[in-house]
């Protein structure tokens, strides 16, 4: 006591009783820190918890609603419906038809998107002439073109492919153009001063620099391709995942409908993972 009185000032200004010094700042939980980073294991557990919550919620809701007719199937009912679809062979035929449509349609859309998008992102003249056109056309909902395509192209495969292409190509073009535009100007300029011609710069600088970004664009817009596939199959088809859902609805086979929705989800997850893997394999330099 007398000591503090002699040295005086620091303790004199401090309010409150003597004792442990108050800590400065506020401790933040790693779970709730903005832009915080989580340990790998915590991340995994949180992911598992999220999926488990969904499944448990689904199962509980299904049991609560259970009655004479099925409105919401349980997980077990859904899985056995899926098994039945697989056993009868319908699933494989529908899956093949839908995958083929999306595969061909989206490949065409991507090819167009890369060629036109890279041109727009690299050439001011291409951008100036094409931007207003695509800027307007992309606001026309592609699904609104369905009747027109049916009129022009009949009801076989071609209107479905056309719908998938038209429904995704403008997003692909404009997003690829953004990616190509983000190639740093010094990189392009340095290439010229190293003796590269314009074609070399396009092929050996702009394209490789844009590649990981292009794969991301492909991954994001793939969802739109499936959306257009459903629109196409709902209107006119005799095979396909969405066609099968409409069919199941007609017979009030809700368990089948859920099984097919599950298939859509699984395809999405698989293609997402595959494209991510392709990106990190083909552009290891762009890994985070």
């Amino acid at each position: 006591m007398s000591d503090t009185a002699v040295t005086g000032e620091p303790t004199a200004t401090r309010t409150g009783a003597p004792g442990p010094v108050a800590a400065r700042g506020r401790r933040q939980s790693p779970l709730l820190r903005l832009r915080g980073e989580l340990e790998g294991r915590t991340r995994l557990w949180l992911g598992v918890a999220g999926v488990a919550t969904l499944l448990v919620g689904w199962e509980l809701a299904a049991r609560a609603l259970a009655g004479d007719s099925i409105l919401l199937p349980t997980i077990g009912q859904t899985l056995s419906a899926l098994q039945e679809l697989a056993r009868s062979g319908e699933l494989w035929g529908d899956l093949g038809a839908s995958l083929r449509r999306v595969g061909i349609g989206y490949a065409v859309s991507l090819a167009l998107g890369i060629v036109i998008g890279v041109a727009m992102g690299s050439l001011a003249s291409a951008e100036a002439s094409l931007e207003p056109v695509f800027g307007m056309v992309r606001y026309i909902p592609a699904s609104a073109l369905t009747p027109l395509f049916l009129l022009w192209l009949g009801i076989d495969e071609s209107p479905k492919l056309a719908l998938i292409v038209v429904g995704t190509v403008f997003y692909n073009i404009l997003m690829v153009a953004d990616v190509a535009r983000s190639v740093p100007t010094p990189l392009i300029n340095a290439s010229y001063t190293l003796g590269a011609g314009r074609l070399t710069v396009l092929r050996r600088v702009i394209l490789p620099h844009s590649w990981p970004g292009i794969i991301d664009v492909a991954r994001i817009n793939l969802a739109a391709a499936w959306l257009m596939l459903v629109v196409a199959e709902l209107l006119a088809a005799d095979q396909g995942l969405a066609f099968r859902i409409v069919r199941a609805q007609r017979f009030r086979q809700v368990d089948r409908m859920f099984a097919l929705l599950l298939v859509f989800g699984l395809i999405g997850v698989a293609s997402d993972l595959a494209l991510r893997a392709i990106k990190s394999w083909s552009s290891p330099w762009a890994r985070a």
Partner: protein, 266 residues
């Protein structure tokens, strides 16, 4: 007085800029910005010249014009008496940042210019090895740029620019993003490269110490529009090194240039 200006005969300067003017177009009938106004400038063969000026004085624009990456609104740029109409491997450039190919290793970055020039494979490998040695990055030949420090990246950029054996090196604030210590190391490195290769170097910087330390002449630019406010001879000759920084003449020159910059900045 530039070297050999009055002498007749073989005294064509390596680089000659006459009345170089750059005006950027204005918007909606507004007059455009004049970035450069009648720049006259010469660099002799094997000379190292710096341009200093505050930001916005158009010094980078001038370098881009000499590099052929931008067109002048008026005036001429000649290298060895031939007009510059576009970029080419005879004028290597190094920028402040973001100019290495991030997907290529150090060796592949350096090799790019040789591939463009169609140099045979065996010769390419040999030349890349030689350049890796010059810039002291032999062990990092297979490293990606993202795993290098800022100073190492700029050494790669310089090696890559040297690969096609350019007549001139144009450096646009190459050390501007580096910390003070790394910067000094790279300045000495640049002097070594200059002496070993005999390249003609034109460098833009806003660092007055750097300009006086490196160059035989300094062009001081004024801002908006960019003009040559002063041309200053640096008297140290080829004798450079840490001692120069303590030479009283170094300090005087530095103060003189800094005064010029202050009076010319508005």
């Amino acid at each position: 007085m530039g070297p050999g200006l009055s002498a007749p005969g073989p005294a064509v300067p390596k680089l000659r800029c006459v009345g170089v003017t750059k005006q950027f177009p204005g918007r909606r009938r507004q007059p455009g910005t004049v970035a450069l106004d009648g720049i006259d400038l010469e660099v002799a063969d094997n000379e190292l010249v710096c341009i200093v000026g505050a930001s916005g004085c158009g010094k980078s624009t001038l370098l881009n014009i000499v590099g052929g990456l931008e067109d002048a609104t008026a005036g001429t740029v000649e290298v060895d008496g031939a007009p510059v109409i576009g970029p080419g491997p005879d004028r290597g450039m190094v920028f402040q940042a973001y100019s290495l190919y991030p997907w290529k290793t150090v060796a592949e970055n350096i090799r790019f210019g040789l591939e463009c020039a169609g140099v045979p494979r065996a010769l390419r490998t040999e030349r890349v090895q030689e350049l890796l040695g010059i810039v002291g990055l032999t062990e990092f030949a297979d490293t990606l740029p993202r795993d290098l420090s800022g100073g190492m990246r700029q050494r790669v950029a310089i090696a890559r620019a040297l690969a096609p054996e350019p007549d001139m090196l144009l450096l646009d604030e190459p050390f501007g993003a580096l910390d003070a210590q790394t910067k000094q190391v790279l300045q000495d490195f640049l002097l070594t490269v200059w002496q070993r290769t005999g390249a003609t170097i034109l460098m833009v910087t806003h660092d007055v110490d750097e300009a006086v330390y490196l160059s035989s002449r300094v062009y001081v630019f004024s801002s908006r529009p960019g003009r040559v406010a002063e041309e200053i001879e640096v008297p140290f000759g080829a004798q450079r090194g840490p001692l120069v920084r303590r030479d009283p003449r170094f300090l005087d020159l530095r103060d003189e240039i800094q005064d010029h910059l202050r009076t010319n900045v508005r």
